[in-house]
């Protein structure tokens, strides 16, 4: 029986000692953390699956509280969990409009090329060759699919024109494609926005015209004809303010270069440029 007494004494003493050390350490090394991180973390499933794009749930909780990630960043969370997190953050989920990624380029095979690139099938690698990559337009999508590899939801693919294209239904706005795209061509737009500017070229009109068959040449027709003043030309590129845009489609009709298009024109997401 002595063995049991010894065992209890030794392990008890060890446990107590470590309890003390940890308690003191936690006080000395205390880092002021936003209390809400703990709350959000306890609502998250804790499976550290990485679906939200962060390294585990703790990182995702910190991002949500710091405002870097949307309240519904965790794809695995059930409806109740997301609304609970939204309540902690003082945001009601319905107001947080669903946002998805969108590739602002339509060139691909139809963009002129400075040279024929044979090498690592990866955008970052291709971009390094010749300073601005194989495309004559320095802003266009290179079409090597780095974004496709990163997307864990299969929401982004290279379409038949060699340009990355997002399927808004599958996109959970985890922003991993935006992070990995070296050209920063992928941006975040509201889910139900229809009218999209399919170009990111900031070159002057004439240069853009020679670089690619589907580029914005800043002819300003869209700006003049937009009834609600949603379209403006900034930095040699047409820009739509979705708070004002009424999806009337006049700019898409007027655009001679077919750069502004209504991507939901016939109910399904059309290939970015229909010939």
């Amino acid at each position: 029986m002595l063995v049991i007494l010894y065992a209890v004494l030794i392990l008890g003493a060890l446990g107590g000692l470590f309890g003390l050390v940890l308690a003191v350490a936690s006080k000395i090394f205390e880092v002021k953390k936003d209390p809400r991180i703990g709350e959000v973390l306890s609502t998250l499933p804790g499976a550290n699956c990485g679906g939200c794009g962060f390294a585990g749930c703790a990182a995702c909780a910190e991002a949500i509280v710091a405002g870097r990630a949307p309240v519904n960043a965790c794809p695995v969370c059930s409806g109740a969990q997301t609304t609970h997190i939204a309540a902690i953050m003082g945001v009601d989920v319905t107001a947080a409009e669903r946002r998805v990624a969108f590739v602002r380029c339509a060139g691909g095979t139809r963009a002129n090329r400075k040279f024929h690139y044979i090498g690592l099938p990866d955008c970052a690698a291709a971009l390094k060759v010749g300073g601005t990559g194989p495309l004559s337009c320095a802003y266009g999508c290179l079409g090597f699919g780095s974004c496709m590899k990163v997307c864990t939801f299969g929401a982004i693919h290279i379409n038949q024109y060699g340009v990355a294209q997002v399927n808004p239904d599958k996109c959970t706005d985890c922003r991993r494609c935006m992070a990995v795209c070296p050209q920063k061509v992928i941006v975040e737009v509201p889910y139900n926005a229809d009218i999209m500017v399919n170009c990111s070229s900031k070159d002057r009109g004439a240069v853009a015209r020679s670089n690619c068959a589907f580029s914005c040449i800043t002819c300003r027709l869209c700006e003049k004809n937009c009834a609600s003043g949603a379209v403006t030309i900034a930095d040699n590129i047409a820009v739509i303010d979705y708070t004002k845009c009424t999806s009337c489609g006049t700019c898409a009709a007027k655009c001679p270069r077919k750069v502004i298009r209504d991507i939901h024109a016939d109910g399904k997401v059309m290939p970015v440029v229909a010939g």
């Binding site: 470590f18 309890g19 940890l22 308690a23 306890s42 804790g46 550290n48 699956c49």
Partner: protein
């Protein structure tokens, strides 16, 4: 708290080894014979369920800072108890599992389930979750041990069936010895996960758009 969902999750969609990639140390090392796989699987399931129950009982008492230390002590106690009981009453299983019984303590499945699930739910769901995850784990272990044993040893059901020798399918001279060594473990698990992703891909493809 519907049991059906938990069972489906434990066995398939959230399988601890194939999906969450936990508990791989023992999976890769132990699955060289059928009896090993079964013995390990069953003991992990028992320990997982027991520790889930205790941890969900204690969840209110344990402060956050010593959460991990406390859970680990509970798990270690159960493991040592199972180890002692196995050595006393089932020596042959204890013999073949060898050094891997104490390593169940650091088997990530148990601590991960304790931290992710048991510390947030009441006792009954925690117990069921422990059971389901344990079964999922045992299932994968058995599948792997059958494959590795068949390829590496040419027998089926060694250690258990027909007096420990197992049914000899082809003589062990032609067996791929590599499968019994660590290399085989990695390859088999890799192919298994690929198979699972392929099945999920196809079913998602059919059921998807």
């Amino acid at each position: 708290m519907n049991v059906g969902k938990q069972i489906k999750e434990g066995l398939w969609s959230q399988n601890p080894v194939l999906v969450q990639l936990l508990g791989m140390c023992s999976t890769l090392a132990i699955t060289t014979s059928f009896s090993n796989g079964l013995g390990m699987g069953v003991s992990v399931t028992i320990i997982l369920t027991l520790s889930n129950v205790i941890i969900s009982l204690l969840r209110k008492i344990i402060p956050d800072k010593i959460r991990i230390a406390a859970y680990i002590v509970v798990i270690a106690t159960f493991v040592t108890m199972v180890d002692l009981l196995l050595q006393a009453y089932l020596p042959d299983i204890a013999e073949s599992l060898g050094v891997f019984i104490p390593l169940i303590v650091v088997n990530c499945v148990i601590l991960a389930r304790a931290e992710a699930f048991a510390s947030k739910n009441r006792v009954l769901p925690a117990a069921i979750d422990g059971l389901c995850q344990g079964l999922g784990y045992t299932l994968v272990l058995l599948v792997m041990s059958v494959i590795r044993e068949f390829l590496g040893n040419g027998t089926f059901g060694a250690g258990l069936l027909n007096g420990g020798e197992g049914y000899k399918v082809f003589s062990s001279d032609y067996s791929a010895l590599m499968m019994v060594m660590p290399v085989g473990g990695f390859l088999t698990l890799g192919v298994l996960i690929a198979l699972m992703q392929w099945v999920q891909g196809r079913s998602a493809g059919k059921g998807g758009k």
